[in-house]
Each structure stands twice: as structure tokens, then as C-alpha cells.
């Protein structure tokens, strides 16, 4: 017992000394910039946003640690809370509905951004200027159909369906068929209805292909999916703001931002250029052309003149 106890005390003493030494050393290095830990979730778009951030910060002279590809909205949030990340890109809709636990969806980008930003300020996080890219649900059509029938928005679609009943078939997945903020809600808000036969309910995995093959005229999808560009599909504009917004925005720990205020400057120049079409195209390069996220991110930053 005694031996163990003294070992334990030694251990504590040793760690204290170590902490002291490390603390002193790092304080000495105050002249150079901090190491910034950049995180992301695990899917393509997040990896791209992570790489764009890393490359831009490195170009500005920061030392960056790559902490990207963590699965789960709660895990990344936790990583930000306990300092494993200094920053990562989060979606306003995800933060509002899932992390901050609100149940009424927000459908206006600016409003959603401001509400999330204000609430999270109290949690020690700063939401920088959001990107226009909105990775929400979408209704898609083939480009040629959209052009030939003159359907650009969901209102156009509703009008067309009401004037030509039975001509349009729509593919949706099971969840979308039952969620009150899914297809039943769209039909109600936009004022149209389709018969049971005209709504094909299927697995999300085959939806894009089904639309491309012309088996249906309209399908649901996710707005920045690379297949939208690959299959030459278009997103119909949600002109009555039915879908909740999922704009991406860099979220930074307040303490990191205070020490390194340039982060805000750098990322707020980049964010406005990341719109839905741009992101879809970048996702396409990774998902369909099977290129590395880092390579695609570097190419885009160079093209936009952010790095050499």
C-alpha cells in the first residue's frame, strides 16, 4: 500500500513538474503563431471545407493540425467544446435543430445564422460569416425537362402539376414520405397534390439514377450532392422557403479567435464564394472523379486567387 501510494504521489509530482516545464516553454514561444486544430465531419463536403481551411490558414503562415474526418454531429461539437478542434464548419440547421435542440425549423438563411450565432456566443463559440451553400433537401429535375417545361422553382412545378394532372411522377424516400416537413408539407404549402401512383417511394441510393434514367420527372435529393452535377440535374428553387436552411459556417472557439483574429479575416473572404453550385462541383470532383479532397481544395483556392 505504502509503496503504491508513494508511487502515486511521485506520479502527481512528476506530472506537475512536466506541466510547469511545458507551460514555460510554450510561453517562451509566444513570438510565433499558435497551432490551429482544424476539424470536420467525415463526408466529402466536410472534408473539402476542412482542406480549404487548412490550406488557406497555412498560406497565411499558421501552423495547422489536420483533425478532419470525425463522424457524427455530436462528436464534432464535443471536440470543439473540449478543445480538440479550434474550428470546423457546421451547418446552421444542424446546430439549431440538433445541437441546440430547438424543434421549429428555420427557413431563412440570415435569421437562422443570427439566431445560432447569438445563442452560441454564450457557449464560447464564434460563428463567422456563413457561406451561401445550402446543403438542404431539394427537389431535382433533369436539365432538359426543366428547360423544356419551364419549371425552375417548386411554384412552377406546382402550377404545372395542377394544369397537367398525372404527367409528373416524383421519387422520394420513405422518410421524406412521412415527415411532416417532407413531401406532405410541400404539397400543402405549394398547393398541389399528386395521386398515390404518381409518387414513387424508394431507397435514397437509387433516386438520382432513377431520375437520370427518366423513370420519374422529379426526385428529392440533397442540394450539394455531386451526382446533381454528374447527371446534369437541376435543383428547383424553394421559392416559398419550405426547407430548413443548412448554410455552412466556420465555428471557432472564442479563445482561439481572440489569440488569432486573422482567422476571421481569412475565412470571411472565402465563405461568400462557396455557393451551392460551387460546392456541388467540388463534391463532384471528389465523389465522381475520385480525386483527393486536398487536391480539389488547392485547385479551387488557386483558381480564386487565395493561394499561389
Amino acid at each position: 500500500m505504502n509503496i503504491k501510494k508513494s508511487n502515486f504521489m511521485k506520479g502527481i509530482l512528476f506530472s506537475l513538474v512536466l506541466v510547469f516545464i511545458v507551460g514555460t516553454l510554450s510561453a517562451c514561444g509566444g513570438g510565433s503563431k499558435d497551432v490551429i486544430k482544424v476539424g470536420s465531419k467525415e463526408f466529402t463536403e466536410q472534408l473539402l471545407l476542412g482542406q480549404i481551411t487548412i490550406l488557406a490558414l497555412e498560406d497565411a503562415g499558421f501552423e495547422v493540425e489536420d483533425k478532419t474526418s470525425v463522424a457524427g454531429s455530436d462528436k464534432v461539437r464535443m471536440a470543439l467544446e473540449n478543445g480538440d478542434f479550434d474550428l470546423y464548419w457546421e451547418y446552421t440547421g444542424t446546430a439549431w435543430l440538433s445541437q441546440l435542440q430547438h424543434d421549429e425549423p428555420l427557413t431563412d438563411s440570415q435569421e437562422a445564422y443570427e439566431k445560432v450565432r447569438d445563442e452560441d456566443a454564450g457557449n464560447g463559440f464564434s460563428w463567422l460569416q456563413y457561406a451561401p451553400l445550402d446543403n438542404t433537401y431539394t427537389l431535382m429535375m433533369r436539365r432538359e425537362d426543366s428547360e423544356n417545361l419551364g419549371i425552375k422553382s417548386i411554384s412552377d412545378l406546382a402550377k404545372y402539376i395542377n394544369e397537367n394532372p398525372g404527367e409528373i411522377t416524383t421519387a422520394i424516400d420513405h422518410e421524406f414520405s412521412i415527415r411532416p416537413d417532407g413531401y406532405p408539407g410541400i404539397q400543402e404549402l405549394y398547393g398541389f397534390s399528386q395521386s398515390e401512383d404518381a409518387i414513387k417511394i424508394m431507397d435514397l441510393g437509387i433516386m438520382y439514377k432513377t431520375l437520370q434514367d427518366g423513370q420519374v420527372e422529379v426526385a428529392m435529393g440533397f442540394a450539394t450532392d455531386g451526382r446533381i452535377a454528374a447527371y446534369d440535374l437541376v435543383n428547383l428553387e424553394d421559392d416559398k422557403n419550405f426547407f430548413p436552411v443548412y448554410n455552412a459556417s466556420p465555428v471557432v472557439r472564442n479563445d482561439s479567435l481572440e489569440k488569432n483574429p486573422e482567422i476571421k479575416e481569412i475565412l470571411e473572404k472565402i465563405a461568400p464564394l462557396l455557393d451551392t453550385d460551387t460546392m456541388t462541383q467540388l463534391n463532384y470532383e471528389v465523389d465522381i472523379n475520385e480525386r483527393e479532397p486536398e487536391e480539389v481544395a488547392r485547385e479551387w483556392l488557386q483558381k480564386e486567387g487565395f493561394i499561389d
Binding site: H174, I178, P180, E196, K200, I201, D203
Partner: protein, 245 residues
């Protein structure tokens, strides 16, 4: 006396199916009238239940009919002396169809036949072929040699031997194969919902995705009851065929 006896036993036959229908109705009535929340209330209605059930039954009936129409004649053909040599090869090919996971068959043929009813029927058809084919072959080959010999001795033509001896004697075995195929089919048909063919799978998947147990159980219960009911009814037909002989 005799007539009352028959009507009594006839009545008895229907007690079990009526009980199954009663369970199905009582549970449907419960979900429609006491939904757990608004989402369930909006989604489930008698119309919706009936539509899913009819889609399901249509998938099973059409695919099973095609399977019978192919497997029974094929089984007969493969037991003729001329074609007997091929029987192993054909059974093995059909067997391969059975080993591919049903979801994979559905996914594979979506590209070819499109989403919806056709692909669903095709996948279920592939799945029903083997039990029926196997039982047809086994049933015919199982007819006793001595009976065949005496039929030949009586000077019956091959055609008459088939229709008067082989088929009647192997009926119960063939029927058992059909019964197995159809019962399995009813369960597998829930997967057709993944490719837009509808059916009770719609209820199960949608309910599961949004985590509403009432809907999941509704879909699962109805397909289970449908399978039990079908199995029972086909068992009755099988028994009657046996009695006739």
C-alpha cells in the same frame, strides 16, 4: 344428417382465417383511431392500409403465377428421359438465383426493368422458382417404379402416363413446393418497397425511419398474418387434393 355434418366442418375451417382477419382489423382500427401522435395520424388511414395490402398481394400473386407457369412445365420437361441429363444443370442455375441476396436482385434489376412493380415482380419470381421446380422434379421422380411399370404394361402412352399417373400422384408434393414459395414470397415482398413497388414494406420502412413503432408493427403484423393465412388456405387445398385421390 350428412349435410349438417359437412356444414359444421366447413364452418370450422373458417374459424382460423376469420380469427386472423379479426386480429388484422382490430390492430388497424386501433392505430387509425388511437395514433400515438400527429405523424402517425396523418400517415395511417384505412385507405393507406388497404392500398399497401393490395399492392403487396398483387406483387405476390403475379410473381407466384409466373413462377408456377415456368417451374412446373420445366420440372415436367426435366423428368422426361430425353432431357433428364440437363436437370442437374438447370436446377443449379436456378439455385444460383436463390443464393443472391434478395435486396441485391432488386437493386440489379432496377437498372434494367426500372423502378416499381416490374422489378419487384421479377425479383420475387426468381426467388419462387427453385422450391417449385425442385418439388415438381422430386414429386414426379418419386412416383413408384412398379406403378409406372404396370402403366406401361397396360399399354398407356407416355402422354397418358403423365396426365393420369405421374401428375396426379405428384400433386401434393408440387403443391407443397408452391406453398413454400408463396409463403416465403410474402415476407420477401416487403423489400420491394425499396425500389418503389409499394406494399407493406412501405409501412415498415417509413415507420422505422421516423421511429414510430405503431406503423412498423402494422406493416410487420399484416404481412405476417397474410403469410399465415395464405399458408393455411393452401394447406386446405393440398388436403383436398389428397382426399380426392
Amino acid at each position: 344428417m350428412i349435410s349438417t355434418k359437412i356444414s359444421k366442418s366447413k364452418f370450422k375451417i373458417f374459424i382460423f382465417p376469420l380469427l386472423l382477419l379479426l386480429i388484422a382489423f382490430v390492430y388497424s382500427f386501433y392505430v387509425v383511431n388511437w395514433p400515438q401522435d400527429k405523424i402517425v395520424a396523418n400517415y395511417v388511414s384505412y385507405n393507406k392500409i388497404l392500398l399497401s395490402l393490395m399492392q403487396h398481394i398483387r406483387l405476390v400473386i403475379v410473381s407466384a403465377s409466373f413462377a408456377i407457369a415456368v417451374s412446373v412445365p420445366l420440372g415436367i420437361l426435366l423428368t422426361r428421359p430425353k432431357f433428364k441429363v440437363y436437370s442437374n444443370v438447370v436446377v443449379n442455375i436456378v439455385n444460383i438465383g436463390q443464393t443472391i441476396p434478395s435486396l441485391a436482385i432488386l437493386a440489379l434489376f432496377v437498372g434494367l426493368l426500372g423502378v416499381g412493380f416490374k422489378s419487384g415482380v421479377f425479383a420475387l419470381w426468381v426467388y419462387s422458382l427453385l422450391p417449385i421446380l425442385n418439388n415438381t422434379i422430386a414429386g414426379i421422380l418419386g412416383v413408384e417404379e412398379s406403378i409406372m411399370e404396370s402403366a406401361k404394361g397396360m399399354g398407356m402412352t407416355k402422354r397418358r402416363i403423365l396426365t393420369k399417373i405421374e401428375l396426379p400422384l405428384s400433386y401434393p408434393v408440387i403443391m407443397a413446393g408452391i406453398r413454400t414459395a408463396v409463403t416465403i414470397n410474402i415476407g420477401t415482398a416487403t423489400l420491394a418497397a425499396f425500389i418503389g413497388a409499394g406494399g407493406l414494406g412501405d409501412l415498415i420502412i417509413a415507420g422505422n425511419n421516423i421511429n414510430r413503432w405503431q406503423i412498423v408493427i402494422l406493416g410487420a403484423l399484416l404481412s405476417a398474418l397474410l403469410a399465415i393465412l395464405t399458408d393455411y388456405l393452401m394447406g386446405l387445398i393440398e388436403a383436398r387434393l389428397k382426399n380426392k385421390q
